[in-house]
């Protein structure tokens, strides 16, 4: 491929398909660009996340999926030399506005990371952590929330007898579900998942996928994944990103069956990436 065609490609505006979703969008980016120091990681991303649906972010490594995901709850803030342009709206409010409560924003957007990251505390403490952050002292409330969150993440049966044991003793898949439970316990509106299954075996992956299926509807979910089958299975809408741009976005079925951009076609059929 020539440099010319590459750059030509990139200036294409996002190809948009029909999207699933009747309730409107909860989060939307407008002309969103992001720089790590001097290097630009996102270019004019325009994308709306449908309320209560699962949106998959796909694309080759380094294309900016994680960057975009972490922009939603401003987890990128901690990085030195970060700069953004454009806006991201959550529930109609610009999250980069100066008077925004970042902590509150993060409370409304739970996050699950690529690598399971339970705290070196007990299982119950892990799941109850968001409540502790909120200063909740009511033990009953905490216990019930923990139980509900663990049930929601389909972990309850496996850990109910050892809630006070260290979370580090769980298997990788269990740890990841624990992290999902922790995110759920925070009672968020949005769940941001960055390759939640990439470190897991197929059985654990299947469980998490099932779980995402169940959680859809209650939460607006964004999932970054490298696994095309997974994206096809769990998501309603899919966004394909390439080199910091949103290339094609629309209903998952359309993206996988009738992709319009060459890049998308090549990627979803597994010819590169």
């Amino acid at each position: 491929m020539s440099a010319n065609s590459l750059s030509h490609h990139h200036e294409d505006p996002t190809i948009r398909h029909e999207r699933k979703g009747e309730e409107g969008s909860l989060v939307s980016t407008e002309d969103f660009s992001l720089w790590y120091g001097d290097s630009q990681a996102l270019y004019d991303v325009e994308m709306a996340l449908e309320k209560g649906l699962v949106t998959a972010l796909i694309g080759p490594s380094g294309c900016g999926k994680s960057t975009l995901l972490r922009s939603f709850n401003r987890m990128n803030d901690l990085i030195d030399g970060l700069r953004v342009e454009g806006s991201i709206k959550f529930d109609g409010h610009d999250i980069f506005a100066p008077d925004v409560d970042v902590i509150g924003l993060r409370k409304r957007m739970g996050m699950v990371f690529q690598k399971p990251n339970p705290f070196p505390m007990s299982i119950a403490e892990n799941v109850g952590y968001p409540l502790r952050v909120d200063g909740v002292r009511d033990r009953k409330l905490i216990a019930e929330t923990v139980e509900r969150a663990l049930k929601s993440s389909a972990l309850w049966e496996e850990v109910k007898d050892r809630l006070d044991q260290s979370a580090l003793g769980l298997s990788g898949g269990q740890q990841q579900r624990l992290c999902i439970a922790r995110a759920i316990a925070a009672d968020p509106d949005v769940l941001l998942m960055d390759e939640p299954c990439s470190a897991l075996d197929p059985v654990a992956t299947a469980k998490i996928e099932e779980l995402i299926d169940e959680l859809a509807g209650r939460y607006t979910i964004v999932i970054v994944t490298h696994n095309m089958q997974q994206a096809a299975r769990v998501s309603h809408n899919t966004a394909f990103m390439y080199l910091g741009r949103l290339v094609e976005y629309g209903e998952t079925g359309a993206i996988f069956t009738v992709p319009r951009a060459d890049r998308t076609k090549e990627y979803v059929t597994g010819r590169f990436g």
């Binding site: 987890m75 970042v102 705290f119 200063g135 995110a183």
Partner: protein
């Protein structure tokens, strides 16, 4: 993240691989040289490691080998027996010359017999010149070569008896002398001995009568004599008891006339209140400087006459030294004449002190107290003989001859005295290397012994010992003094205490500062500012501790002494102004505060501190006069000024914590507390109001608690604080804290930085603030690492020497007083080692101090290491 980058790299390289024709072929065999180098490196490194371990072990073994002799019991190196018919049944005095070449016994009527102790051969037989009279009793001051005698007509005499020693060069003509075997010869009333270098040492006994004191009393039945002063200005004091119960004190002053060189003796006699009549077997003792005259009767009753003012001497105390029915069978003053050893018919041996004890039942404010009870003999104690100088003494029981030391309370050496007959004479040399025993059936025994460390014992080092002149048993370190009769006090406890005290206060200062700085660096500081700050802190570690100690002692100590009031106030005001500054900062609208963060924030912090300092300077004087009666140092010693303000200062931080915790529990703080973004003026003002509420109620609580505490009689001046000395624990704590901050900071920061970022992400993703993340996730995860950092810092503080030497005042006292000095184990070694005789008791005791220090730091470092390993294991699972 790394994986992803790798993916990218792979993509690129396959692209390039297709274009580039040059292909690298990898050899399938490892070069020999590489293998050899590997083996050699492994070998060298393991040898090096083994050598290091061996060196450490070697040092440890050396330390132990230096210390072990302290705890060895005395040994008998040789033993010699001879039989010579006894000239009399019991000697008034027995003296063994320090080379064991000559022994002297003085019998009734001033008869002197000098003999060779190994063979028993008589060297000379003479007589003290009593002007033809027969003595009825005699007394000696062996340390000063003095004798005294009493006569039937009530008169007394005194003089001196001593070994006269000359040394002749090698080649001295010994012909005509009678060989005694070995290197000794007898001739013309002296013993000639070949000593090192072939020289000839000649020893003979010389007795001189100095003065006869006429007195009109009855027959002298008991006598005590003491020589005070030396040579030019000698004072012979005699206490005498006559058969009619008349007690008298005679002080003979010997002065040398400068012109004629003649000695002139003038005697002053004082008669004391009459002693009870018909005392059975009375013994008289004159204590140090003639302060007291002790009259001990055979039935164990002691009559103490206070003779500090000889013309007005009076019976001050009557006390029984033994249990009912037990007779005193032997008694002697210890060298120094401050304590009396008493042996009973039941075998018991006790040591009695005369202590100043105001408020006691006695009429003069002194009291005889049994301070030590020693291991009893199995039958009546037949003799007690103190060694001249030191506090060791021999006691004899049935068939037993025990060498003891007062401080240790245990028997140092047990000699088998199973010779026929009763004891006639007994002596031990001042160096504790020879003991002589003669019996009334003519047996003469000489033991060559070795008791290098009579004062050393576990009890002396680590236990409470009741020393002469002390009111109660105590832990005391005082290794040397000007006088020979001094009893070394070798308790390591004040030094261990000093070490712990210095460590405690330095940690009190260093740990919060170092840990807060570490948390700040790893959690709050922007990444690119971290390295310079860390480097700067680590540079602090390269400050030589001697420089720190120097600055602390010569600059800081005087400044703090002058301005202790303001310094204390600073401890209160500077944190307050910082907290206040932080509160005000929150009042700034968030966009403003965000834009101002970086450098400006630092300036704001600095100026808050500056304001605190200025306020301190401005209010210092007022503070002192309002709360401490004008002068804090005076307040420390004068208890009539209220302690409430000081108590308030102590209690305020605790009260603040209590109020804050209680407030959080009962008001149920909102979830949004402390969030950065909430910034707005309203929320900030709320926080400020809340904080001032907390501060005010804490102040109230602290004040009430302080008043209550004082009401219940608690006064910090009894312990926590006390008289102010310039080089005190506060100074040491500060200087040593400064010395250990870098190491604690560095290690703690490493531990915090080692906490993986994904945990921080998880916490922040849950909506926690940076501070919540730091204290709930990062610090607990790094806790063992932080603990080990603190422990390693503590190990440093325990072993630190120069700062404590220079800034601590080096007073080995055991008191909690922050404003008092201290002496640490390490400083003690540094200060005293230059003066210790190699191989001596002090020398070895200093090694024991070193070993103790080693054990302490070893324990602390081992704990640190164990925890650190746990920390590492825990991290491998994260």
């Amino acid at each position: 993240m790394v994986e992803e980058r790798m993916d990218q790299a792979d993509l690129l390289s396959t692209d390039q691989g297709a274009k580039s024709p040059a292909v690298y072929k990898r050899p399938k065999e490892t070069k020999r040289l590489v293998l050899v180098a590997d083996i050699i490196a492994g070998y060298v490194i393991s040898v090096g490691g083994v050598l290091v371990i061996a060196a450490v072990m070697g040092i440890l073994i050396y330390l132990v080998s230096q210390v072990v002799p302290l705890f060895r019991a005395g040994v008998v190196t040789s033993q010699n027996s001879a039989i010579r018919p006894a000239p009399w049944a019991i000697s008034s005095a027995t003296m063994l010359d320090e080379y064991h070449h000559l022994a002297v016994e003085i019998g009734p009527a001033g008869r002197i017999i000098a003999y060779h102790p190994r063979s028993g051969e008589i060297v000379s037989e003479t007589r003290i010149d009593f002007n033809g009279a027969e003595s009825t009793t005699m007394a000696f001051d062996k340390g000063a070569d003095g004798w005294a005698a009493g006569f039937a007509d009530g008169s007394m005499a005194f003089g001196s008896v001593k070994f006269q020693v000359e040394v002749f060069p090698a080649g001295f003509d010994l012909s005509g002398m009678r060989p005694l075997g070995g290197d000794d010869w007898i001739g013309d009333g002296a013993v000639y001995s070949k000593v090192a270098g072939g020289q000839i040492r000649v020893a003979r006994v010389v007795a001189v009568t100095e003065k006869i004191i006429k007195s009109g009393g009855g027959k002298v039945v008991a006598l005590s004599m003491a020589v005070f002063g030396r040579q030019r200005n000698r004072m012979n004091a005699l206490a005498a008891l006559d058969s009619r119960g008349g007690l008298s004190l005679h002080i003979a002053q010997t002065r040398k006339n400068m012109m004629t060189g003649k000695m002139k003796i003038s005697v002053k006699s004082y008669s004391l209140p009459k002693a009870p009549k018909a005392l059975d077997k009375p013994r008289l003792f004159l204590t140090e400087n003639g302060a007291d005259i002790l009259l001990v009767a055979g039935d164990g009753v002691l009559y103490r006459y206070n003779a500090r003012e000889p013309s007005q001497a009076f019976l001050a105390e009557t006390v029984s030294l033994t249990s009912p029915g037990v007779r005193v069978t032997a008694a002697a003053l210890m060298s120094g004449r401050q304590s009396l050893a008493v042996g009973g018919s039941n075998g018991g041996v006790g040591i009695h002190f005369i202590l100043s004890n105001p408020g006691s039942v006695t009429s003069d404010g002194y009291k005889v107290v049994r301070a030590r009870r020693l291991e009893p003999h199995k039958g009546p104690v037949t003799a007690i003989v103190p060694a001249a100088g030191g506090k060791s003494f021999l006691t004899a029981g049935p068939g037993e001859l025990w060498l003891r030391n007062g401080a240790g309370e245990s028997v140092i050496l047990r000699l088998d005295a199973g010779a026929p007959g009763d004891i006639r004479g007994l002596d031990i040399t001042s160096r504790l290397d020879g003991a002589l025993l003669s019996t009334n059936s003519g047996a003469i025994r000489l033991w060559e012994i070795k008791v290098p460390h009579p004062e050393a014992s576990w009890r002396a080092f680590f236990g409470k010992v009741w020393y002469e002149g002390y009111k109660a048993p105590s832990y005391t370190w005082q290794s040397s003094a000007a006088t020979d009769d001094f009893e070394p006090k070798l308790s390591l406890m004040p030094l261990i205490f000093g070490t712990l005290k210095a460590t405690f206060y330095s940690m009190l200062f260093a740990v919060p500062v170092a840990l807060l700085a570490a948390v700040f660096t790893s959690e709050f500081l922007e990444k690119n500012h971290r390295a310079p700050l860390k480097t700067a802190m680590e540079m602090m570690a390269s400050l030589p501790s001697v420089a720190l100690g120097f600055v602390a002692a010569l600059v800081l100590a005087p400044v703090v002494e002058r301005g202790i009031g303001p310094v204390l106030l600073a401890g209160l005001l500077i944190p307050l102004s910082l907290v206040g500054g932080a509160m005000l900062w929150q009042l700034l609208p968030q966009p403003v505060s965000e834009r101002l963060s970086g450098r400006f924030k630092f300036m704001a912090i600095a100026s808050a501190m500056g304001i605190g300092v200025l306020a301190t300077l401005a209010l210092g004087g007022l503070f002192e006069s309002a709360f401490f009666g004008g002068d804090f140092k005076l307040w420390l010693t004068e208890k009539d000024v209220s302690a409430v303000p000081f108590l308030f200062m102590l209690l305020f931080p605790m009260a603040t914590a209590a109020v804050a915790v209680a407030g959080a529990r009962y008001t149920g703080r909102g979830g949004r507390r402390g969030s950065q973004a909430q910034g707005g003026l309203g929320a900030g003002a709320m926080e400020l109001a809340k904080a001032s509420m907390v501060a005010i109620s804490a102040a109230l609580l602290a004040w009430i608690a302080a008043v209550v505490a004082q009401g219940t009689g608690f006064d910090p001046r009894d312990g926590l604080v006390g008289p102010y000395v310039q080089r005190n624990t506060l100074i040491v704590g500060f200087a040593m804290g400064f010395a250990v901050i870098p190491i604690i900071y560095t290690l703690a920061e490493d531990a915090l930085a080692a906490v993986p970022d994904h945990l921080r992400g998880a916490s922040l993703g849950c909506g926690a603030t940076v501070w919540q993340t730091a204290i709930w996730v990062v610090v607990p995860t790094a806790a063992s690492g932080i603990f080990s950092a603190v422990m390693i810092g503590m190990g440093r503080a325990v072993g630190e020497t120069m700062i404590v030497v220079m800034a601590a005042g080096n007073t080995p006292v055991m008191e909690l007083n922050v404003f008092g000095g201290l002496r640490a184990l390490s400083a003690n070694i540094a200060v005293e080692l230059p003066e210790a005789v190699v191989g001596g008791t002090l020398y070895r005791t200093l090694f024991l101090a070193g070993l103790t220090l080693f054990v302490m730091t070893f324990a602390i470092n081992t704990l640190a290491e164990v925890v650190r390993l746990r920390f590492r294991k825990r991290f491998s699972r994260l």
